[in-house]
Amino acid sequence: MTDRALAVVRAGALTTVQDAGRPGHAHLGVPRSGALDRPAADLVNRLVGNPPGAAVLETTLDGCSLRPRSPVTVAVAGAPCRVTVDGRPAAWGAPVRVPAGALLDVGPAVSGVRAYVGLAGGVAVEPVLGSRSTDLLSGLGPPPLTDGTVLPLGRPTGGHARVDVVPQPAPPAELVLRVTLGPRDGWFTPGAVRTFVSRAFSVSSASNRIGLRTEGPALDRARPGELPSEGMVLGAVQVPPDGRPVVFLADHPTTGGYPVIAVVRAADLPAAAQAVPGTPLRFVAVRRRWAARPHLAGRRAPSPAGVHNPRDRYT
C-alpha cells in the first residue's frame, strides 16, 4: 500500500467519507447523499488546497482520531471542537501540518453535531457513480469508518491553501427553517398548517443523515391514506402517520408516499445539520421567489409579520 494513507485509530460514533454526493441518479432510486454541512466541507477543502468536492471526513458528535502514514495538511471545521496533534493543541478552522505517524485527534463537538476533516489530496476511496460519499440509506459508497480502517489519500493538487482563517456561522441555538408550503399542504387541516408554521418544535434525537426528526405538536391530516409514491426533494418536510414532521437531508429516499407539507430552503439545511437534539426549532413560511400561478402565490405561503425577507421576493 502507498504511504499516501491514514489509519483510523478512533472512528467515533459515526464518521463517514463525504463529497458532493451523487445527484442525477434519483430516477434509479439512488439518493443524492454528500456532506450535510456543505459550506463546512467546502471550507476544509479550501483550507488544505483541495478542489471543491474532494472527499472529506464527516464526524458525528464525538470526533475521531487519525494517524497519517506520510506528512499531510489537514483542516477541521464545522462543529467547533478541540484539535490536537500528538496531544498538543492545534488550530481549528485553519490548516494544520500533521507529521507522518503523528496522532491527529478531533475532539467531541463543543457545540453543533458534525465536524469536517479535510485532508490534502482528499480521501481516495473508489468512487461509486462518480461519488465517494457514504450513503446510509442505500449502502452505496464506503461503509462508515471503524477503528483500524486504512483510507487511501490522493495526491495534493494545489498545495497552497486558498484561505487562511475564516469566520464560520456558529451552530444554531435556535433552528429557524424557512419553508415554502406545498406540494401537499392541502392534505392537512388549515389548523395543522398554521400549527406547522407558528408553533415551537425541537430537534429529535432520532435525527440522522436521512432526516431531521422533530418533536412537538402532531399535524392533523385533512384526508387519510397515502399518496401513490412520488419523487422527493432535498429539504422536503414529510409528515408520516404519527404527524411529526421529518426534514429530508442528503440520504433521503428518492420516492415516498407520505405527504410533503413544505420544502425547506436549501440555504437553511447546513444549520439543520448542526442542530443538536433538543434544539428549539421553528418553521417559518416564506414566499416562493417565483409564482407558478401568481394570483395564488401570496395566499399559499403567507409570510408572518416580522420574518419576511425582501430578498425572498421574486424579482
Binding site: A26, L28, G29, L140, P228, G231, T254, W290
Partner: protein
C-alpha cells in the same frame, strides 16, 4: 396536467394514469436530450413526474400547464429477461387472491411483458407494471424483517425484485439469481424507468 411547485427549483407534475406518467416522462427526457429543458433530476413515479434542479421553473410550470401531452412513444429497446424460480413463500396466498392454481401464477406472470414504471426504495429496485388490474394484491399484513436478495415480489399493481436483502412487505412469489445492482457494472442498474422486462420461468419451477 396539474403542476405543483416544490421548493424553489422543482416541479411535481401530476397526471391521471400510469400511461400518462410514462408519456410525460418520455416527453421530458426528449426535451432534455434536445437541450430545451435543463433539469438535474427527472423522477417518474406512479402518477407524477418530479423535475428537480430546474433553471427556469416558473416558465416551465406555465408551459406544462398549457401543454398537450403527446401519446407515449411505442415501446422500444431490448427486453430484459429475468429467469425466475416460482418458489416464493407467498405463492399460495397470491394464487388465492388471483383465484387460480399455484402453477397458473407462474404461467400468467411469465407470459406478461412488464415495463419499469419507476424506481425507488433502493438502488436498482424497479416498480414494474404490466399485469391486468384484476391481479392486484395487497401487501402482507405483517412485513418481513428480512426479504432475501433476488426475491420476486408483488404488491398492488406492481412486480419488483429485491436488489439486496432488506425488510419488506411485498408478497414473495419467486427467486432470481440475476444481479439487479452492481456498483462495478456500467450501467450499475439492470432496470431503469421504461425498461421492458419479461420473467422467464426456470425449468422445474
Amino acid at each position: 396536467m396539474n403542476v405543483l411547485p416544490v421548493g424553489e427549483d422543482a416541479l411535481l407534475v401530476e397526471v391521471s394514469s400510469d400511461d400518462e406518467a410514462q408519456a410525460l416522462h418520455a416527453e421530458l427526457l426528449r426535451r432534455r436530450a434536445e437541450g430545451s429543458l435543463t433539469a438535474r433530476e427527472i423522477v417518474p413515479a406512479a402518477r407524477t413526474v418530479l423535475l428537480d434542479g430546474l433553471d427556469a421553473p416558473a416558465r416551465l410550470a406555465a408551459e406544462l400547464t398549457a401543454a398537450h401531452l403527446p401519446p407515449a412513444p411505442p415501446r422500444a429497446g431490448e427486453v430484459v429477461e429475468i429467469p425466475v424460480r416460482y418458489d416464493g413463500p407467498d405463492l399460495a396466498d397470491v394464487a388465492g387472491h388471483w383465484g387460480v392454481p399455484e402453477l397458473e401464477v407462474a404461467r400468467i406472470h411469465g407470459a406478461t411483458e412488464f415495463r419499469v414504471a419507476f424506481c425507488g426504495f433502493a438502488p436498482g429496485f424497479g416498480y414494474l407494471t404490466g399485469l391486468p388490474s384484476r391481479y392486484d394484491v395487497p401487501r402482507r399484513a405483517t412485513p418481513r424483517t428480512a426479504v432475501p436478495a433476488g426475491s420476486v415480489a408483488l404488491a398492488g399493481p406492481y412486480t419488483g425484485v429485491y436488489p439486496r436483502s432488506s425488510p419488506g412487505g411485498w408478497q414473495l412469489i419467486g427467486t432470481t439469481d440475476v444481479v439487479l445492482w452492481d456498483d462495478a457494472r456500467v450501467p450499475a442498474a439492470l432496470l431503469s424507468p421504461g425498461t421492458r422486462v419479461r420473467f422467464v420461468p426456470e425449468a422445474g419451477s
